[in-house]
Amino acid sequence: MRVKARLKNLAGRALAESMDVKTMVHFARRLIPNYDLHQRTGFPESVAIPNKDAAGQIVSDMIGEECFLEFVETLIDVGQRGMAGRKYRIPRLSAIISEILETGYVLDSESGRFVEDAGVRKTRNWGVLHEGESYVMAFLGVDIVGNSRLVREHGRHAVQPLYDQLRSRLQLCAERRNGRLWGWEGDGGIAAFAFTERNRRAVLAGMELLHELFMYNALYRPLDGGLKVRMTVHNGPCEYQSGGAPYNSDTVQRLWHIDHEYGKANVLTVTETVYATIEALIAEEFTLYQPEPNVALHQYWVGNGAGR
């Protein structure tokens, strides 16, 4: 993220006016472990660093380490909840937040994190996830049923445009709910959802995609019996990788396992951990499916719950 001079200045003044140098260092170490202010500023250990210089250095370092947004998030947190049992009044916080919002971010109310405003910019990591770090996320996996048979019977040229359509619809349904298409490989793909209400948004995206597929099959009648997909939503920790879909993540592997073992054509399967977090209005549309005594899944298909 590119931080303008005005924003940098505001952040430095807010920090300088809200705490002493010792507290600032303690604060900085929340984000950069072993942060050494004297080493960074070049001031000898025996010389006290003026508040303004210390704050300016810390803000510059936060920008340099690409954790300026986390710095402001922590500042907001300290302003609201205090630090080490003490309360701090952080001046100019609303001006700092406004400046950040103007650069195309929104403040996620539940997690207290800045995330990309999907209406302004859509990047794979929402502008905030760091390479190699683990985050709890929800995933929507989509898998075309009988891909090999379809290719054999209709030819790659006939099925490819349909797959492309499905891919773009998955992307549309996910991005409409601030999800991101993290991978598509031939006959299926995966969309990721992070931050507030990630499970709910992944489920709604899956339901909408299922409805879109229903309409597509009814209106265009592709491939004789129509295009059939299995969809699964599962959540859990996952390491962010900028290079591709996290297929080696346990969460994603579990998702595909559920998809292959228990998924059904044109059915959205949701795992128990996801189901438990969605509101009753949506949950009522799902039917419990227990293929094995220790496996509880919930499934939705077009028309399930009709007439309830």
């Binding site: 339901m207 309409m215 009814a218 265009y220 209005l281 028309g303 009709a306």
Partner: protein
């Protein structure tokens, strides 16, 4: 369905190619002699080129087709038929001359022709005394209406959508009243935004219900698609835009009719039989339902038709209710 173009002029088949390409119909050609001497058993819908027919000869052939219950339309490119009405007395379901062919035969026209014949069968007429839909002259003759060609104060044929939010019931009157008010506002906003990209506009709205208009043309299937989607996405729309706690449900009804166009808020003096009819339909509908009238059913794409089931007649319209698959 197969359409048989019965003519000795192969060039006529060109006018039917669009129907063939649409996938809804398959088109074949048969010579006039082939029709006259063959069996009618396999025929579904015949477009008969009447060029060169003597009147008596044509009457005899039409009688035979009608007796065999073959649906047929007349192709009269040179406009040689003197008494066009007689063709319909003899069982024809459409009359196509050069002017019609020059703008092209649409799927919707063929479907209307088929429906016209079905509607003429005694068994299908629930209310023989019901008046036929009134044809309106003037600007409605424009083939493909869009909002750019619609003028304030003129009468047009529209695809009309009735949209009404169902009342919210609850134990506490105060909270119920507030929820009802909120849901009405949110629902009007939702419907307007939902149909705006496909040319839908709010025409009139009073509290919990209103009428929205779409420019009419014979192939405008978007309003029906959109309403179908709205019913399908009920839970999603509630979760995304309306209520997470008490689901808001709604009634939709699609009709084709004529009214004088006025911008929203300026419709107090509008008198329209179709609008009144649609409000009557809406007020009598069960909660959480989507109906189309017989005229609007012609604008429902083939793939969605199986989800509409005849529910008899209301006033002058045959009514069809949408059922979700599995229900």
């Amino acid at each position: 369905m197969t359409i048989t173009v019965c003519s000795d002029r192969p060039e006529l088949l060109e006018y039917f190619q669009a129907l063939d390409r649409s996938g809804s119909f398959s088109v074949e050609q048969l010579s006039v002699a082939g029709l006259d001497h063959g069996s009618f058993g396999e025929l579904c819908m015949v477009y008969l080129d009447v060029a060169g027919f003597e009147r008596a000869e044509l009457r005899r052939l039409l009688h035979r087709l009608h007796s065999a219950e073959v649906r047929f339309a007349i192709l009269d490119i040179e406009r040689t038929v003197e008494d066009i009405a007689e063709l319909f007395y003899l069982g024809a379901c459409d009359y196509v001359d050069e002017r019609v062919l020059s703008v092209g035969l649409s799927n919707a026209r063929v479907r209307r022709a088929l429906a016209f014949r079905e509607g003429a069968e005694p068994a299908a007429t629930d209310h023989p005394s019901s008046p036929a839909p009134r044809e309106v002259q003037g600007p409605m003759d424009v083939d493909r209406l869009d909002w750019d060609t619609i003028c304030d104060g003129s009468e047009y044929r529209f695809v009309m959508l009735y949209a009404g939010v169902d009342p919210i019931t609850g134990k506490h009157r105060e909270s119920t009243d507030r929820a009802t008010h909120d849901s009405r506002t949110a629902f009007k906003d939702l419907v307007s935004r939902y149909v705006a990209p496909i040319g839908g506009r709010v025409y009139m709205w009073k509290e919990e219900e209103g009428i929205l208009l779409f420019p009419y043309h014979e192939e405008n299937t978007e309003p029906a698609n959109s309403c179908f989607r709205m019913m399908l996405n009920k839970v999603i729309l509630n979760a995304d835009h309306l209520s997470r706690l008490a689901p808001v449900t709604w009634r939709l009804a699609l009709h084709v009719g004529s009214t004088t166009y006025r911008s929203s808020g300026d419709t107090a003096t509008v008198v329209s039989e179709a609008v009144n009819h649609l409000f009557h339909i809406g007020s009598g509908m069960p909660k959480d339902s989507f109906y189309v009238t017989g005229d609007a059913l012609l604008l429902v794409p083939d793939g969605l038709r199986p989800f509409f089931v005849s529910e008899g007649s209301f006033e002058q319209s045959r009514m069809y209710k949408m059922y979700l698959p599995g229900s």
